[in-house]
Symmetry: C2
Subunit: 431 residues, 2 copies
C-alpha cells in the first residue's frame, strides 16, 4: 500500500520514538502460554514460557523524558476492558508520562480486571519513578480470560532496561496480534520556527469497526499543546480517519487511541484554535489517515484495501453513512475478493444504510491504478467491459466512487475484502 | 436440521400445493445464459439456452383455483426491485390469484424494470385468464442487469401447461439461487370443524438480514380469512421469525413474503382477532418458524444453525437487539465455524448492540444435543472444559443461551457460522 503524502508533512522514520524525548521497548513476557489455561483448572498457576517458544513480543512500554499533555479516545462498546476504565481515570488531569501495554490477553470480562490493570500501572510507575496515575495502560487479545500478572511483573526489569530512543519497532511488535504488517509512521512539521515531529503506531486487524476509537493506537509528539486542544484535535481527526475504517463490523471492547505531547520542540504552546493548531491538526491527520489506511489494508485475511469515496451528497452525514455501509457489506467485500464487478451489491448496501438519498441520481465508478470505469448512472446499470472491470479490481488498492448528485458534501471510508483467510484466522483465534 | 413441531399443527407434505386448490409449476426458461451478457454490448440479444446446459428451473408459477385474500411484507431497502413496486400496487385491493417468479435476475436498478415486471404479470394473466393486477410478481438474482423478457415470454405456455396440484417442488426449485437445501413445508390445523392447510416455500441463503421481510417466501392456505386479518397475522409472525434471521447482514432489495388464502376449507371467514385467528396465526407461526430456521441453517456456506436465545431481559426489544447482534457478529460466526468457545466475542457483540442492559448480570451458556455448559456468569468468565465445549460446538445445531437477569422478556434469533464457502460462493456469484 502506498502512503498518502502531504507536502507540508514529510515522513520521517522512528514511529513513536520519532519525536524528541520518547523512549520505547518491547519484550516477550510469555503471556501466550497462559492464554488457554486461564479458563481451566490451572487458572491460578502461572507458568513461565517454555524455552522453545517463538519469542513474539507481548509487552511494551513508551516513556517520555518529561511529563506530557495527554488525550485519548475510547471504544464505545458497553463491555469495556478493565484497562480502559483505569486509563480514563488516569487521564482525567490531561497528563501522562508513560504507556504500558500487553497483547495476547484483553483483560476484559474478568472479576479482577481493574485490580490487574492498576497493578500494571503500579509496576511501571515504580520502575520509572513515576506516579501510577501518570501511566496509561492498555491490553489487547482474548476477552474473558484471567490476565496472569506474574509474567508481566517478572518482565518489568527487562522491559525498563530495554527502553531506547530507537525502541519503536520492538514496542510495535509487542502490540501486534493477527496483524501481518508493521504499522508505524511519523511526520515532521513546522510550528512557527520550531520543527516538530509526530509519530505513532497502530495495532488492529480484526474486530474493527467505525463509531469508536478502533484498534490500539499510540501517538507521540514533541509539539507543545494544551491537554484541551490535544483532545479536540484527536477527537476531530479520529472522526474522519479511524472511525471510518471497518474490517468486520465488530466493535472491540478494548480500543483506545492515546496521544502524548511533551513540548520538547519548544514551540509556543498551542492553547486555542489558531494557525499553529491547524498545522498540528494537519500533522495528526497525515499520520492517522495513513494508519487508518494501513489498518484497513491489513484487515484480517485482506488481499486489498478498498476506499469508498462518496461525493455530491446533501450532507457529510449522508456521505459517511453510505460510504461505511458499502465497505461493511459482507457480500460486497466477498465480491471484491473475487474481483467481481457486482455493483448491484453496492447499490444494495447503499439502500439499506440509514439515511435519505435519491436512488435515481446515484452513479458508481470503480477505479484503481489500472483505470476507471462507470458501472451505474442515474441508479441504473450501464454497459461496461467485464475485462476492464476485472483488471481494475485485481489491484491491491481499489476505489469505489459514488456520486449522489445532491449537494457538495463528501466522505471517505476504508475497508478490505472478505477472504478465506479471514475465516481461517477467526475460526480458531484462541489457539 | 430437525423441524420444530407443534402438537396442534402436524406437518403434511405438498409445500405450496398442500392446501386445497393451489397448483404450481417450475421450468427452466434459460435466464442463466443471459445473465452476464446483459451488461455487455450484446444486451439486446436474447439467446436461447444451449442444449447441453444444466436445466435448473428459473421460472415458477403458483395459481389458485379461486381468487384469494392476499397479503405481503416487503424489503425495507430503499433500493427496491421493480417487481416489489408492481406487486405492492397489485395487492392494494388485498386480492390475488397467481404468482409468477423468476430467479437468476433480480430486475432491480434497471431503467425498464417496472415495464418488464408488468409484462410478466400480463403474460401470466393472459395465459391464466386473469387480470394483470391479480398477479403477484417477484424476481431474485443479480442486481443491475437488464432482465431479458423473451425467454420468459417463450416459456409461458410450458409453465402454464406444467401447472399441477403436485407442482410445489418444481416451483421451489425455480426460486432457489445459492440455496443448497429444499425449503418447503406445510401444516394441517382445525378452524372449528373444518380442516385447513397452510404451506409455503422459501428461497434464501445469502443477502439475508433482519428488519425486513428477508428472502422470497410464498405461502398458500385454504383457510378463509379477510385480507386485513391476513396482513395482520403475516406482519406479526414475520416480526418474530424471518425478521430474526441473519446470514450476512446484507438486506436484499427484492425480499417479499406473500400469502394467499383461497377459503376452500370453507371455515367461517376470519375477520377479527378471535380464537380462529389465534389458530390460524399458530399455523402460520409453525410454518414460518421452521422456514426461518431452514433459511439460517442453509445460510451461504453454513455448516451449522446457530440459535441465540436471550431470556430474563427487561423488554422484548432488548432481548431481540442482543440476540440479533450476537448472530450477526462475523467474529462470533467464524469462531462457531471453528467450534471455538470464544465467548468473549459474544460479550463483545452484546456490548456494541444498541440497547441498555447490565453487563455485570450477564450469564452465557453454550448448548447442543451433546450437552450444555456455562461459560460466563455475572459478566465474567467461569472455568469450563474446553473439550466439552468443543464437543458441544461441533454439532450442526448450536444454542447460545444468554440470561440478562433483569426481567422476564425473551427473544430468539437465528443465524449460521461464517465459513470458507461463504467467501467462495460470494467471491464470484455472477459467473
Amino acid at each position: 500500500m502506498k502512503l498518502q503524502s502531504f507536502e507540508e508533512y514529510p515522513f520521517v522514520t522512528g514511529g513513536v520514538c520519532a519525536a524528541q524525548g520518547f523512549r520505547a521497548s518491547g519484550v516477550c513476557c510469555g503471556l501466550k502460554h497462559q492464554a488457554l489455561s486461564c479458563v481451566t483448572e490451572q487458572a491460578a498457576e502461572a507458568n513461565l514460557p517454555e524455552d522453545d517458544a517463538p519469542k513474539k513480543n507481548d509487552l511494551a512500554m513508551i516513556v517520555s523524558d518529561f511529563e506530557c499533555s495527554a488525550a485519548a479516545v475510547y471504544t464505545q462498546n458497553k463491555v469495556k476492558g478493565a484497562p480502559i476504565l483505569v486509563t480514563k481515570e488516569h487521564l482525567k488531569n490531561g497528563r501522562a508520562a508513560a504507556v504500558i501495554v500487553n497483547s495476547v490477553n484483553a483483560n476484559t470480562c474478568n472479576a479482577d480486571g481493574v485490580e490487574k490493570a492498576n497493578k500494571m500501572c503500579e509496576l511501571a510507575a515504580e520502575a520509572l519513578d513515576l506516579q501510577p496515575d501518570d501511566v496509561v495502560v492498555a491490553s489487547t487479545g482474548v476477552i474473558g480470560q484471567v490476565l496472569p500478572i506474574e509474567p508481566i511483573e517478572a518482565a518489568i526489569p527487562a522491559l525498563t532496561k530495554a527502553l531506547s530512543y530507537h525502541g519503536n519497532t520492538e514496542a510495535m511488535h509487542a502490540i501486534m496480534t493477527t496483524d501481518t504488517r508493521e504499522k508505524e509512521l511519523a511526520v515532521r512539521f513546522q510550528i512557527g520556527k520550531k520543527t516538530c515531529t509526530l509519530g505513532g503506531m497502530l495495532k488492529g486487524s480484526g474486530m474493527i469497526h467505525p463509531n469508536m476509537a478502533t484498534t490500539l493506537t499510540f501517538l507521540t509528539t514533541d509539539c507543545a499543546i494544551s491537554p484541551a486542544m490535544l483532545q479536540q484535535a484527536l477527537s476531530d481527526v479520529v472522526r474522519v480517519t479511524l472511525n471510518r475504517v471497518s474490517v468486520d463490523g465488530d466493535q472491540s471492547t478494548n480500543d483506545m487511541v492515546c496521544i502524548m505531547a511533551n513540548g520538547m520542540a519548544e514551540n509556543k504552546e498551542i492553547t486555542d484554535e489558531n494557525a499553529d493548531y491547524a498545522a498540528f491538526r494537519g500533522a495528526l491527520y497525515a499520520v492517522m489517515l495513513n494508519l487508518a489506511r494501513l489498518c484497513a489494508a491489513d484487515g484480517e485475511g485482506a488481499t486489498k484495501l478498498i476506499e469508498c469515496v462518496v461525493t455530491e451528497a446533501a450532507s457529510e452525514q449522508v456521505a459517511e453513512t453510505i460510504a461505511k455501509s458499502v465497505i461493511e457489506s459482507s457480500l460486497f467485500k466477498a465480491a471484491m475478493f473475487g474481483a467481481d464487478a457486482n455493483w448491484g451489491r453496492i447499490a444494495c448496501a447503499m439502500g439499506y444504510s440509514d439515511c435519505e438519498y435519491d436512488v435515481n441520481k446515484v452513479s458508481v465508478d470503480l477505479a484503481s491504478s489500472k483505470g476507471r470505469i462507470t458501472v451505474a448512472k442515474n441508479g441504473c446499470g450501464v454497459p461496461f467491459s467485464e475485462d476492464d472491470a476485472k483488471t481494475i479490481l485485481l489491484e491491491d488498492e481499489v476505489q469505489v466512487l459514488i456520486s449522489l448528485d445532491s449537494g457538495d458534501a463528501s466522505a471517505i471510508a476504508w475497508g478490505c475484502d472478505l477472504t478465506y483467510d479471514y475465516v481461517q484466522i477467526n475460526g480458531d483465534y484462541r489457539s
